[in-house]
């Protein structure tokens, strides 16, 4: 595989984490405009740990996930009781605050004769842990997809479990779920924390893939894209968000056929698709149909 294809595939994997994070909240009935903030928190936290303190990447990734989950809980506590669009707006405001805080963040240390660390709007250069360990692009690709595979297996298992059914019941009708004894608030907070950790994991991998991050990476555009990925792919299965990322990054950006017109094609495609499939390509009905076919008892 040439370098370009590896790069495109890696990006597809990285943004899938973010799309899955948006998807997790969507099936629990919450539309967040702010998952990019946790992607950013993970990128910055992981980058600082490996580049400045020399922490090994696996440990840094765990710490980044913990900080993503913590940030998500802090934002979730005052906002998760808000309904629908109010929650979307509040998460949007929170994410923009996070982006501006990244712009104000100056934390540089001299490492090996060069200044390393977040330098406000100038960005954060030299997140070179992966590069310095001699990890090949193909190996990194394998790491990204290995982690993604583990997460997908977890998603599939959870969605078939009691917990998964409970989550979808909250998404469909929180009052009804609460009346059946589901602790809606606690469960939503847990979902927000898991989604934050998931986005942060994507962020830390993104930072170490690019070696350079800047606050602009984590703006509203990224957040709305991740929502769009989850929605066009479909809300019926965790493979939906992956399909969404694949359509945009793989088909449109990767093939370079629509260069210069990519957004016009993608935009039109998404809008028309949503006319016919308002819950995405792989929505609940399609997934149910596939299940019924594939696991039919003889």
């Amino acid at each position: 595989m040439d370098e370009y294809s590896v790069g495109v595939l890696t990006n597809i994997g990285l943004f899938s984490f973010l799309a899955l994070s948006a998807y997790l909240l969507l099936i629990a009935g919450e539309m967040s405009f702010g998952q990019q903030a946790f992607f950013g928190v993970g990128a910055y936290a992981g980058g600082v740990l490996t580049a400045i303190y020399g922490v090994p990447l696996p440990l840094a990734a765990l710490a980044a996930m913990a900080s993503g989950a913590l940030a998500a809980v802090l934002i979730g506590l005052p906002t998760l009781r808000l309904r629908g669009l109010y929650f979307a707006m509040a998460t949007l405001a929170a994410a923009e605050m996070a982006r501006i805080l990244f712009e104000l963040l100056h934390f540089q240390r001299e490492i090996g004769g060069a200044l390393v660390g977040p330098d406000g709007t100038q960005g954060f250069r030299g997140i070179r842990w992966v590069f310095e360990r001699g990890v090949e692009p193909l190996e990194y690709l394998a790491i990204v997809y290995g982690l993604l595979f583990i997460i997908l297996v977890a998603f599939v298992r959870i969605e078939r479990s009691h917990l998964g059914v409970t989550l979808r019941s909250i998404g469909a009708d929180p009052e009804l779920a609460a009346s059946l004894g589901v602790d809606v608030n606690r469960l939503k907070l847990g979902v927000a924390a898991a989604a934050g950790a998931l986005a942060a994991l994507g962020g830390v991998l993104f930072a170490h893939h690019n070696t350079y991050i800047e606050p602009r990476n984590f703006d509203i555009m990224l957040g709305v894209h991740s929502l769009a990925y989850a929605l066009i792919g479909g809300l019926g299965t965790a493979f939906g968000p992956l399909l969404g990322v694949l359509v945009d990054l793989g088909l449109l950006e990767g093939t370079r056929v629509f260069q210069g017109y990519r957004m016009i094609v993608f935009g039109g495609l998404v809008a028309v698709l949503l006319v016919f499939r308002p819950r995405g390509l792989l929505d609940e009905r399609v997934v149910h149909w596939i299940h019924a076919r594939a696991f039919k008892r003889p």
Binding site: L26, G29, E30, M31, P78, T79, L82, R83, G84, L85, Y86, F87, A88, M89, A90, A93, A94, E96, M97, I100, L101, E103, L104, I220, V224, L227, A228, L231, I232, L235, G260, Y261, R262, M263, I264, F266, G267, G268, L269, V270, A271, V272, L274, V275, P278, R279
Partner: protein
């Protein structure tokens, strides 16, 4: 000290008038449809870029440019309405469900068209910055040591005129009655023979026209346009709407002015990054706390 305070307040009102106009259009759609139109700013960008393109190629009067901007914005708005909102209108019952799949689909679809407008604008006029004919040439108004740009008076006047016009339409016409009925009790309005979709279409056209007017006045008072105008209009209009309590027209005007004032003062004392941070923090806290006056304004009855 005091002189700075007064001058900043004047500057804040100028910016606030623009925000108020943007917020009125945004709020009209949100208040009636209960949907967020993310491509509101992008449609304005389309209108303003169309006028800019015209002014680059033809000799055009300022009034002609204003009408062209409004017409192109309404056209772009109609495209958004047909493709993103019309397919997701509720067939029966209430259109005001929370994060129902219809409202998510409409919002994401409108975001998709935002991408289209932005790329189309950049393809048509690829430079980062274009000059736009000025609204007013000459000295700003002076009051002793303070000055106020004449453009801001136009913006404030336009905001007042648009509000008066909307008030007349909503409270003095049959169409306004239909709109208020749809906002109050959608099901009853449908039973009384009001066509929901036709009300929505006309509200969308009205909001786009207001957005086009706002876009023209903003471009002509800044005397330049960049592709950032689309995102800027959507974000500022949305922020002002949120400050005003989501769905109230007087609230949108107040929210726009408050946003302008808060921005002007915090920029003066803390710099541009803190200005944005403070604006978002204010909105986050207001949304999280939901004080009584916000809930009152967002109650259905005062939504128009």
């Amino acid at each position: 000290m005091l002189a700075d305070l007064v001058q900043n307040t004047l500057d804040g009102l100028t910016a606030g008038a623009a925000y108020a106009l943007l917020a009125v259009g945004f709020t009209l759609i949100f208040g009636v449809l209960r949907r967020v139109n993310l491509s509101y700013g992008a449609a304005i960008l389309f209108g303003v870029y169309f006028a800019t393109w015209t002014s680059l190629h033809f000799q055009a009067d300022l009034l002609v440019l204003a009408l062209l901007t409004i017409a192109a914005t309404v056209l772009a708005g109609a495209y958004v309405e047909r493709l993103c909102f019309a397919p997701h209108y509720p067939s029966r019952g209430s259109p005001r469900a929370g994060a129902s799949s219809g409202s998510i689909a409409a919002m994401v679809a409108s975001f998709a068209l935002w991408m289209q407008f932005e790329e189309a604008a950049i393809l048509a006029l690829p430079q980062h910055l274009y000059a736009f004919p000025p609204l007013h040439t000459g000295e700003p108004l002076r009051f002793g040591q303070f000055f106020l740009r004449v453009e801001s008076l136009y913006l404030l006047l336009a905001a007042v005129a648009v509000c008066a016009l909307l008030y007349t339409i909503l409270y003095r016409t049959r169409f306004g009655l239909a709109v208020r009925a749809v906002v109050d009790v959608p099901v009853a309005a449908q039973l009384a023979g009001i066509n929901l979709s036709s009300v929505f279409v006309r509200i969308f056209a009205l909001a786009s026209a207001i957005g086009g007017l706002a876009g023209f006045l903003i471009a002509a008072s800044h005397e330049q346009v960049t592709p950032m105008l689309g995102m800027w209009s959507t974000v500022k209009g949305m922020l002002a709407m949120m400050l005003g309590g989501l769905g109230s027209l007087p609230g949108a005007v107040a929210g726009g002015l408050v946003l302008g004032l808060v921005e002007a003062h915090s920029q003066w004392y803390f710099g541009p990054q803190m200005r944005d941070l403070i604006a978002y923090l204010l909105i986050f806290v207001l949304l999280a706390l939901r004080p009584a006056w916000m809930t009152r304004w967002t109650s259905t009855r005062s939504a128009s």
